[in-house]
Symmetry: C2
Subunit: 500 residues, 2 copies
């Protein structure tokens, strides 16, 4: 099957225009690229429709104990390797979604297998401590080797958490505490504050808010959900908080062709941000912080210019609000920099940056002034998991050794160039192609077409993910190479050519 | 050192009254008991004050990157075994706190080491999937072997989460959805609901509430925190929700000696619960559910009678509220039953039961009627971690094979009997001794005395935990045996005798 795909690809390349011949040229470098990913498979291998009979049988069983309607198929992770996800029916698929963007260096990476086989590492997996009170000897060292070695500029402090939602929830709390201390101007707390907070009332529980953007996604716990505005299904029936919501720019792509229109759209949104801060303060609801994703992901891969974010940062500073950048989905290298917000070139760093997914552990970086002024204020039983820190240290070593940030830039360029070409050829199916590194996406005409394309691609051996109401997003691992991009583009080109 | 302790203990037993001779008798069975815990150490071994010089050095380093003031000491988990926690200065301590009650079967359990060494299990640790969309082949099977094999009666459904807070947050959401569907009476949603929920407003985000109890602890994310009322430091400066808070009974111990007074106190609290539900409904804030811990843990180990909880369950049903039992700290067997609420003998089971800590994964059980009516409503990227399910299946096998629930009852009785004896001998230091299984506690005269006792005990080789404003709580592992109870009691008896 793989060799069939290869010959089909070469034939395809030879038959097509000069732009695609560039693909052919790049494809020839596959052998060299593959040295870096020697545990990878050489192509998809499909045996059944997906989900296949075994997956369907297992879905039925799982559905007996929980709503399993979101399950795509069941996986054989033991057999999954590199960029390829193998399912329980023996189908092997090129995975461009990587578990909702959460697998950093591919499946079954030899470095991680080796790490797990070393006897001295066993303890980290079976003796999970309460990190806030009884950390293991190597805790600081592993944080330095992993998270702190890639800390965004100016953020010297880091706290680990178990997932993305907990990371944002605790980042909000750190911001609220910081804001209140700033308002107080001193460290002493009144009796009234201590008593009123116990019954959820001000002044102990002040009427503070986080400003968020329409289309943003920051998690699903109640605090996070008050800042999430991507899909109704996430929010319906759940009580929320009256926090301000600003419009996020709706830009035209490619960005370089619509500079003026996009600037106007961004200016409109920024003005609204300032208006909301003032309006909410007037009604005694203080905006303590602004939360934003560098690229709105769940909400439909909505980009904004670097200039927009620099101006947003300025607005936050001007109004005394903390500036929180949610890098849960964008962080970890897929945009070509370790953190997507590093593209912006901020003079004054973000105040707080949250992460999870590819970082294997949740958590957040922050400036020193956001440090809680007492123990147990940002705290829970586990505060993350040292076994994840251990794996992350290894993952970051691989990212550095194998120059995977540059790889993301390079492979992302191959992917984006190919998508632009497909857009030119199939404008009725593909529009608004956009991306940074491998963090690419495009729009389809509607939800039904999008879902149909994802299903067909899956049956041809490619796992894709949707986002927003009609977008397809690319979230490959960091070991996704140019040749994987070309492999995908050829398969997808065939799909588009035959799409009815 | 261990043999010194042993001989001191025997001498001590021989010198004391018949009640303590029972300890001596039980102690003789230590050899038999130790067969079950053959990877355990035979006693504490202290080399330095705790925290020792190495711990202090590491605390200073950690404090450079996060507030490390809550750290007790740094641990050598590789050397920690069974009930004994070893620190980085080579001190070996009998651990009666077990990482805030989160280590089920002791440190470095051979079954878990073996599990990690089996090549077929490696994948679960290094290939963490998005469980809601791409579960591993053995997902349902492992849930059946682990969580479902100990599911509370009547609760056929289970969802996994990454931590205790996420478990409660998502349980709240399941309850809110259930309540709203009940109100609707049908499955269709209005356009107004879909639109208003996107901007955090009713009717899409209805004004629903969870009723909680003063002194309760249910986590620290914003939704959970609105139901947490244990300590001001947890809540100060964080905006909250106007949700009803009922008084939790403040009982006299031993419960059997104060039946009438305690009944009156419980009746007062139950009446207040009903009043609050009615009062909040009048102001259009609907109490959709009631959340309660079987024993308020962080809040000071506050017990209530089985009758109180049966009546509370009845009130929930009468008013159409969901009844959510938070077993994050009480669950997993330490009270002598797998779930503490199984002691109550409810006719109608709880609607939702949350767990985490000793269960290694977070999550919640629920009745079928609380199943979300669509996919992606209770969802996040990871939805727990299959590596934790794998370990939990092994832990539950050990709990069953080694009859550890009965062990908790038995060892708990030895501990409680000893504490009652110490209370009789040192009433100025120990009061309100209480417990179920090994989930025991007592009060000290004040915060300062409590903290001093904990520090002295630690330097004598025993790790204890505090809770509430002046209580000491016992949270040993499930392999804590009678002889460990006697070992502790002897050490603590000496401490009390010499306390100034």
């Amino acid at each position: 099957m793989a060799s069939m795909l290869l010959s089909r690809q070469l034939t395809c390349c030879l038959q097509q225009n000069s732009r695609l011949l560039v693909f052919g040229h790049r494809y020839i470098s596959q052998a060299a690229a593959k040295i870096d990913v020697d545990f990878d498979y050489d192509g998809p291998l499909m045996k059944t429709e997906v989900p296949g009979p075994r997956s369907r049988e297992l879905m039925k069983k799982l559905n007996g104990i929980q709503n399993a309607e979101a399950v795509h198929f069941f996986c054989n992770y033991e057999e999954s390797r590199g960029n390829y996800l193998v399912d329980v029916d023996g189908n092997r698929m090129l995975d461009l979604y990587s578990q909702i963007s959460s697998i950093p260096i591919g499946y079954s990476h030899p470095s991680l297998i080796k790490l797990l086989q070393q006897p001295q590492n066993l303890s980290a997996f079976i003796n999970r401590p309460a990190l806030g009170i009884l950390p293991p000897e190597n805790f600081t060292e592993k944080l330095k080797e992993s998270l702190l070695s890639v800390a965004p500029k100016g953020l010297s402090q880091v706290v680990t958490m178990s997932c993305g939602s907990c990371s944002n929830e605790n980042a909000f709390k750190a911001i609220f505490m910081w804001y209140r201390n700033k308002e107080r101007g001193h460290n002493s707390v009144t009796k009234e504050e201590l008593e009123s907070c116990m019954i959820n009332q001000p002044p102990g529980c002040p009427d503070y808010a986080m400003l968020s953007f329409m289309g943003g996604f920051h998690g699903r716990t109640l605090g996070c959900l008050a800042t999430t505005h991507s899909k109704a299904i996430h929010k319906l029936d759940i009580p929320s908080l009256d926090w301000p919501i600003a419009p996020f720019p709706r830009l035209k792509y490619p960005l370089e062709d619509f500079v003026k229109e996009n600037q106007q759209e961004e200016a409109r949104c920024l003005e609204e941000v300032e208006d909301l801060i003032v309006k909410y303060r007037k009604k005694k609801k203080i905006v303590a912080g602004i939360i934003v994703e560098p690229i709105q992901s769940e909400g439909g891969d909505n980009h904004a210019s670097d200039d927009f974010f620099r101006k947003l940062r300025d607005i936050a500073r001007k109004h005394g609000c903390a500036f929180l950048v949610d890098e849960v989905q964008t962080g970890g290298g897929c945009t070509g920099k370790f953190w997507a917000h590093e593209h912006w070139g901020l003079d004054d760093p973000a105040d707080v940056v949250t992460f999870s997914k590819k970082m294997m552990t949740g958590g957040f970086f922050h400036k020193e002034e956001f440090r809680p002024n007492a123990p147990y204020r940002i705290f829970n039983t586990w505060l993350g998991d040292p076994s994840k820190n251990l794996m992350l240290a290894e993952v970051i070593k691989v990212i550095k050794t194998e120059d995977l940030l540059n790889n993301a830039t390079h492979a992302g360029k191959a992917l984006l160039t190919g998508l632009l070409d497909l857009q030119a050829r199939y404008p009725h199916l593909i529009s608004r192609v956009r991306g940074r590194g491998t963090f690419c996406s495009f729009d389809t005409p509607n939800d039904a077409t999008r879902n149909k394309l994802i299903t067909i691609a899956r049956n041809k051996g490619v796992v894709l993910g949707g986002c927003g109401d009609r977008s397809i997003r690319f979230r490959p691992t960091l070991i996704f190479k140019d040749h994987h991009a070309h492999l995908f583009l050829n398969i997808f080109s065939d799909i588009l050519a035959n799409f009815k």
